[in-house]
Amino acid sequence: MAKSKKEIISIQSVSKIYNLGETVVKALDNVSLSIYDNDYISIMGPSGSGKSTLMNIIGCLDVPTKGKYKFKDELISEMDDNQLANIRNEKIGFVFQTFNLLPKLNAMQNVEVPLIYSSLGRKERIERAEEALHIVGLQDRMTHKPNELSGGQRQRVAIARALVNKPSIILADEPTGNLDSKSGNEILKFFAKLHKDGNTIIVVTHEESVAKLSKRRIDIFDGKIARDE
């Protein structure tokens, strides 16, 4: 590697154990992982492998049962609900398979949602949302409702929403899963561009074609990292 990389996420011996009465399910079993600045990672694995659990933990939606999770210098594994909400708000941009746009809000208002939970004023919120929609090339679709947009455009609104708080990582869960191949490819090209612009991207997927475009690939199997290269 040409330039030295800064570690953003450090996961040390993390386990997630679900206690379902009689049976105990180890969704993650002693996983360790480091994610660096400007990484472009794909996480792959069959369903039930624990990749969703890993994603939820990386995304600070869930905390591990055992082990340490450090995000930059902050110890996520010890945080309460409010602190986790803050981290999600400031540090993580989510992109979902089903877009998860709010149907009653227009593109602009959808992109504004994360900013509402930050302490920005109204004027600044609008500026930031416009800027984010510019980046995804939807500057002339700002007042359109989600049902007036194509699938690809909807996902681009969702990406703008993920970018709007200038997060440290972008976490995408099957971002092309609900798109036709043409729109899917556009989104992937867009991820490549974002990566080139210096963003850190983590894509959870089960599609080889998606994983191939990433710079680093992690395979999960039975709650363990089977491959990391």
């Binding site: 609900d81 409010n82 803050n86 949602v113 994360p114 939970y117």
Partner: protein, 419 residues
């Protein structure tokens, strides 16, 4: 500064809540209508009760707080008609006993009551007639002679056809002109008007308005108008002596009527305070029933709001999950849903207030016919608005709390996965 930002956040969540109210307007209005009805009825009941109260107090002035009345019927609402109707009539002669033996009664008068047709030219009206002693001049309560004079002892002795009239006669017969010296016919006998009473307005007690009243010497009354009606004794005392005076008068009446010990009274000693007590009991019963019914309707509408809020939370589980993933705290979500519930309640309450305003306005602009231009005694004030909003906020919070807590405590992962 930190505090300011927190407040800013708080209001943003309220706005999100209001936005969702706007996007479900039909459902919100239907849900809120329960509260509208509740607020409307609760206000009408309380307005009616307080207005009845005011009017009743005004009417009670007619009887005075310093008088004892002796009649055949007790002043109460539990009439035992058969028992009272066979009682002997009140004898004027009893007054002599009372004047002679009573310590507490300072002045006395007979009061003969009847109704009759009064005419002037081609105009006619029904008026209440009282035949009294000259001493009644000082015993008038709730009104006074405003114009002209009372009749004299001499006029009483000579059975003169002179009358003192209530406030409606002037407008009804004389187009608002001074009636003193004019002659009207009562029961086809001509009387001269020598005095006029101060106008009172509508009252709630039967026979409790002085505006339709005609007062004349009891001697004249007896000679001309004895076909029907009833007599009462009016006894003057001090307000503080009322209970003792009533007891004493009762005993004197028993002696005068030679009622053997152990037998029941065959007369009734009344006073305004006893009437007031009776009235309060009835008023409280009306208010109690009214508030019980409306209380139930408020509880039902609170349950309605709670139900809609649960539906709203259920429908928007994914939205909650998304907002949480985007950084909304539990408190943010709680505020959002609570303000939605409060907004629904306030919408319901506001429509209720508008309805009350309209009702009051409507009643005020349509006077009830045959009641001398008086309107139904319902009033509207700002305190009512204040109470309504307080109640609405309270109901909104109460109804919204459990659904909002459910929403706030949702796990974002499960919520996002919701179909």
């Amino acid at each position: 500064m930190e505090k300011l930002l927190e407040m800013n956040n708080f209001f943003k969540n309220i706005i999100i809540g209001l936005f969702s109210v706007r996007s479900n307007l039909t459902r919100v209005i239907l849900t809120a209508s329960g509260l509208t009805i509740g607020i409307f009825t609760v206000s009408i009941v309380s307005a009616a009760v307080s207005s009845i109260d005011k009017e009743f107090a005004k009417s009670m002035d007619y009887y005075g707080n310093d008088k004892v009345y002796v009649g055949t019927w007790p002043w109460s609402f539990d009439f035992d008609w058969w028992k009272y109707r066979n009682r002997p009539k009140i004898e004027e002669s009893s007054l002599e006993y009372i004047t002679q033996y009573s310590e507490y009664i300072t002045d006395v008068s007979i009061k003969k009551n009847t109704w009759t047709r009064a005419t002037y030219g081609n105009k006619a009206s029904w008026l209440q007639l009282n035949g009294v002693y000259p001493s009644y001049q000082d015993m008038l309560s709730g009104t006074k002679i405003e114009n002209g004079r009372f009749f004299s002892q001499n006029e009483w002795d000579l059975q003169r056809r002179v009358i003192i009239v209530g406030g409606t006669v002037r407008d009804g017969f004389f187009q608002g002109k001074d009636p003193i010296g004019k002659k009207i016919r009562l029961n086809n006998v001509t009387f001269e008007i020598i005095g006029e009473l101060k106008k009172q307005g509508i009252g709630m007690v039967p026979g409790g308005t002085l505006d339709n009243l005609v007062i004349m010497p009891s001697t004249t009354f007896e000679r001309i108008l004895t076909r029907w009606g009833f007599d009462e004794l009016v006894l003057q005392t001090n307000p503080k002596d009322i209970p003792l005076a009533k007891e004493e008068v009762g005993m004197i009446m028993r002696v005068a009527r030679k009622i053997p010990p152990g037998d029941d009274d065959n007369f009734a000693v009344n006073s305004a305070d006893a009437y007031m007590e009776q009235f309060n009991t009835m008023k409280n019963a009306i208010a109690g029933m009214g508030f019980l019914v409306t209380g139930i309707s408020l509880v039902v509408s609170a349950i309605g709001i709670m139900n809609v809020m649960f539906v709203s939370v259920r429908e928007r589980t994914r939205e909650i999950g998304l907002r949480k993933a985007m950084g909304a705290t539990n408190f943010n979500i709680l505020t959002q849903f609570l303000s939605e519930a409060v907004a629904i309640a306030i919408i319901g309450g506001s429509v209720g207030i508008a309805l009350i305003r309209l009702t009051v306005f409507g009643l005020a602009s349509f006077p009830i016919p045959n009641f001398n231009g008086a309107t139904l005694p319902i009033s509207f004030d700002l305190l009512l608005v204040f109470y309504t909003f307080t109640v609405c906020v309270f109901i909104g919070v109460l109804a919204g709390l459990i659904p909002a807590r459910t929403a706030a405590n949702l796990n974002p992962i499960d919520a996002l996965r919701d179909e």
